[in-house]
């Protein structure tokens, strides 16, 4: 049984980098869904059970911030782990994401071992 993963990024390269980093960290994915923006991600979340969401902030149509705000308003964030992977460096916006319920934030470029640490901390017993 592996992780059910959703990777949200408008860059196909970054989506593959995330999937590759997870595999390198020993996290087996049972299913990997991808979305190019927050709107697509919300549709995936409505249709499929997902263990963990990795999302960029800066995306067309619906940003990661808007996606997180919608998930927070719908009460999803306490049970739906979201990790933000972004070039965003503004401390106030990162604090806002954490306050909304985002579990972790990693700056791009991130190291695979940093991603491994974050996921291991969220799932200390392995995939749910």
């Amino acid at each position: 049984m592996g992780y059910r993963i959703l990777i949200v990024d408008d860059s196909p390269v970054m989506r593959r980098i995330v999937a590759r980093a997870l595999a390198a960290g020993g996290f087996e994915a049972s299913t990997t869904h991808c979305a190019e923006n927050g709107r697509e991600a919300l549709a995936v979340l409505a249709a499929h059970p997902i263990d963990i969401v990795f999302a960029d902030i800066n995306m067309p149509e619906m940003s990661g911030m808007e996606m997180v705000e919608k998930m927070a308003a719908d009460g999803q964030l306490p049970t739906q782990p979201v990790i933000i992977l972004s070039t965003e460096r503004n401390a106030e916006r990162i604090d806002r994401l954490r306050a909304l319920g985002v579990r972790a934030y990693l700056k791009k470029p991130f190291k695979p071992e940093d991603l491994k640490k974050v996921v291991s901390a969220l799932f200390p017993l392995g995939a749910p």
Binding site: T87, R89, N90, K108, P109
Partner: protein
């Protein structure tokens, strides 16, 4: 904390991202390699305390190697060629994110646009407000520049 817009600031962030993200060692040069083959131009707008565009020009060959390094592929892999443009766009995204944070300071909000990458026959020679030319891994020419939308008031 903010810094002055300067080529050394642009060089520092670009070199660091090239090395950390894609394992390319780079150095600034005043005698650039001649352009060879098809070129890629990537642009990304930013709006913060200053408004403008970061522009990166390089060769498609560098884009292919960049994609290969980012994705753990051999440069000869067809997948690396298929992702060359997206890789250059993502490189610019990472460089610009790091650069504006250093330039404006992490306490300032700066909104980045979406990278736009296109093939160009030759680069636009119009100089930006701040520019650098790098050699990556002693083989690839990479130019990065900042073009401001407005001129600061005296």
């Amino acid at each position: 904390m903010s810094a002055a817009l300067s080529p050394s600031l642009l060089l520092g962030t670009t070199s660091a991202i090239l090395e950390d993200a894609a394992f390319f060692f780079s150095e600034r040069t005043d005698t650039p390699l001649p352009w060879a083959g098809q070129l890629l131009e990537a642009k990304l707008s930013f709006i913060g305390p200053r408004k403008g565009t970061m522009r990166l020009v390089t060769t498609t060959a560098f884009g292919v190697e960049l994609a290969a390094n980012l994705l753990g592929l051999a440069p000869s892999d067809a997948d690396a060629a298929a992702h060359a443009r997206a890789a250059v766009g993502e490189l610019l995204n990472m460089v610009c994110g790091a650069f504006v944070a250093e330039w404006f300071g992490a306490d300032q909000v700066c909104q980045l646009g979406i990278p736009v990458v296109r093939a160009i026959p030759h680069p636009d020679d119009a100089p930006g407000d701040c520019s650098i030319c790098l050699i990556a891994d002693e083989r690839h020419r990479v130019e990065v520049e900042i073009i401001l939308d407005e001129v600061p008031r005296p």
